[in-house]
């Protein structure tokens, strides 16, 4: 089996400030995580390539991730950070690309979930930035909360030339079990052809008692397997589940699909969305 993990992180609170790790609940993951920690997990799960996603709004972190990706064969893509609202965005992206491992930059992300303005993605300066990301031939990862989906839909329509990837299903309220209005907005978003969705982050949102199945079903029905990709969200997932449990959940959630459809979710969709290099060992 060959799998692509389209969403994981690495961090070093000992090197950079990670204030989001401050709370007592974050203690289990408040330590350095590097590729040596990930390696046994992905070997056991049969994952053989990954997409590493930014954590901090920090160009230096992205440059570091690119250098790390470029030094090996595992991390085939990096979704980095750059300031969408900056007039220097094209230059910033060009600098990242000309640095070490720069060819592994596949996309940009900003932690929109932390923006107080629910309409942040509708802002003119933000959408100008999104056009610049498209102009650079990169994709854009949406990390939104459900109430920010209307603005995400607006952005996806306003910049049709850009490939968007929705992270973590937009963090629906899995704990409470409420589907609406999240589900209606997911269907509205999925109606746009330039959006993909990650099957990721669900264990964290579900907590001990939530049931992710109805949420996964909404996403699979709305986007179809050819626009859904698996992401472990490791090490964040460790707050709720091991790497093996997360891959196990993804397999369970997709058990009704054909092998070809599952190949999409666990490999091909990510390759297409992020333009990952073709495999040399194509099955």
């Amino acid at each position: 089996m060959t799998w692509t993990d389209a969403h994981h992180h690495l961090w070093s609170p000992n090197t950079r400030a990670h204030t989001w790790l401050d709370g007592p609940q974050m203690a289990p993951i408040r330590r350095d995580f590097d590729l040596d920690d990930l390696m046994p997990e992905i070997r056991a799960a049969g994952v053989d390539r990954t997409v590493l996603v930014q954590v901090l709004p920090d160009l230096d972190e992205t440059a570091e991730f690119l250098a790390l990706a470029g030094s090996g064969d595992l991390v085939r893509g990096v979704v980095g950070w750059a300031d969408l609202t900056s007039a220097d965005l094209p230059e910033a992206l060009a600098r990242l690309r000309s640095g070490s491992g720069g060819d592994r930059l596949v996309g940009v992300r900003h932690l929109v979930q932390g923006e107080p303005d629910p309409g942040w993605l509708s802002r003119g300066d933000v959408q100008r930035g999104l056009r610049a990301v498209a102009g650079a031939g990169l994709s854009y990862d949406l990390l939104t909360l459900p109430h920010q989906l209307p603005a995400a839909i607006d952005a996806v329509r306003a910049v049709p030339e850009l490939t968007f990837v929705l992270d973590h299903l937009s963090k629906p309220p899995i704990r409470s079990g409420e589907l609406e209005p999240w589900a209606a907005r997911i269907r509205e978003l999925a109606a746009e052809p330039n959006v993909f969705c990650k099957l990721s982050g669900m264990v964290t949102e579900a907590g001990p008692s939530g049931d992710p199945r109805p949420y996964a079903q909404v996403v699979l029905d709305a986007f179809g397997p050819e626009r859904v990709m698996f992401g472990s969200d490791w090490p964040v997932c460790l707050l709720a589940a091991t790497y093996a449990e997360v891959t196990g959940l993804a397999e369970t959630l997709t058990s009704g699909l054909t092998p070809a459809e599952r190949d999409q979710i666990f490999d091909q969709t990510a390759a297409r969305a992020y333009g990952l290099p073709p495999r040399e060992d194509q099955r």
Partner: protein, 320 residues
């Protein structure tokens, strides 16, 4: 927990001490709906009995009514036990208020004349002292100078710094609904404190990015107002107010989702909203408005509630 939150703590590096919860007096001067004299007095008395010893007011609130009601109340209490802040930047003159200032009901008709000059500060404070009957204010804040930076920093600020040096006020600061200009004040002037409204709440954590780290670094006290973002975090019903206007549908949805997360722990959303800012090490106190004794009592009860760390974790939801 009441002991901890009514304990007096220093405001920045000044000698002023405040309880970690203060009473904001805008609502009891008729914000959005009239409030009777006795109702307002009962709200103030309930706050005092709950151990609240910090009171924030301004000429703007009820066109002087908030200052009058607070002053009348404090005349019957030990003034030295209370910390009082008022604000400068709006002079009150008789006339029909601008539409933007018509949110207060059952109050005298007064035009708010924006004045951030030194002379404006002295006149405003003299009038505030007269309305309250107090002999001094502990804290004076430059109120909403959003469109008046130049005058505020060359007129009001030096005037307040002089009053502080002379001992006429014990601490000075600025009170606004935005973080950027407050951060500029902290960087470019020597303030003891800022009062930031609405920008550090369960719905808007903007101050955590720029203002709060800056204040922590410089030892500037932070008072957080607008913890309910105009009401929606106290009661997230459709049509609730958010930042002084009717809440957009998206904000109502977000607030209801937060309420559902609180409900799973048996915690009212209002309690989490009131307590949320106090978790940040840079925050000195929250300033919470109330329009009745009942609302004050609710807020006071929320001080006693144990809020589990797991709920804060669920509400933060900021994993990448």
């Amino acid at each position: 927990m009441t002991g901890a939150l009514t304990e007096l703590v220093p405001l920045g590096r000044s000698e002023v001490r405040v309880s970690r919860i203060g009473l904001g007096t805008a609502p009891l001067s008729g914000l959005y709906a009239p409030v009777g004299e006795r109702e307002a007095a009962a709200a103030l008395a309930t706050a005092w009995d709950a151990g609240i010893r910090y009171f924030d007011t301004a000429p703007h609130y009820g066109a002087g009514l908030a200052e009058r009601r607070l002053g009348a109340f404090l005349s019957g209490r030990d003034r030295t036990a209370a910390t009082v802040s008022t604000k400068v930047g709006r002079l009150l003159v008789p006339g029909v208020p601008a539409p933007a200032d018509q949110d207060f009901h059952g109050v005298p008709d007064m035009i708010r004349l924006r004045d951030y000059s030194a002379a404006g500060v002295y006149r405003s404070l003299a009038e505030s002292l007269e309305r309250t009957g107090l002999d001094a204010f502990d804290v004076v804040l430059i109120h909403d100078p959003d469109d008046h930076w130049e005058q505020a920093v060359t007129g009001a600020y030096p005037a307040l710094a002089r009053l502080r040096a002379e001992g006429a006020v014990r601490a000075i600061g600025a009170g606004m609904n935005q973080t950027a200009m407050l951060a500029r004040f902290v960087t470019e002037t020597d303030l003891d404190c800022v009062l930031v409204a609405g920008r550090y709440s369960l719905l808007d954590r903007g101050a955590a990015r720029d203002l709060l780290p800056l204040c922590a670094e410089r030892g500037v006290g932070v008072l957080v107002g607008g913890v309910f973002n105009s009401g929606i975090l106290a009661d997230p019903r459709p049509g609730a107010r958010f930042d002084y206007a009717t809440a957009p549908e998206e904000i109502v949805h977000r607030a209801r989702e937060l309420a559902a997360r609180c409900a799973a722990y048996g915690v009212p959303l209002a309690a989490a909203a009131l307590r949320f800012p106090l978790r940040h090490p840079a925050v000195t106190a929250v300033v919470v408005g109330a329009r009745s004794a009942e609302e004050v009592a609710d807020n006071a009860a929320h001080l006693n509630l144990t809020i589990p760390d797991t709920l804060w974790h669920d509400l933060d939801g900021n994993e990448p």
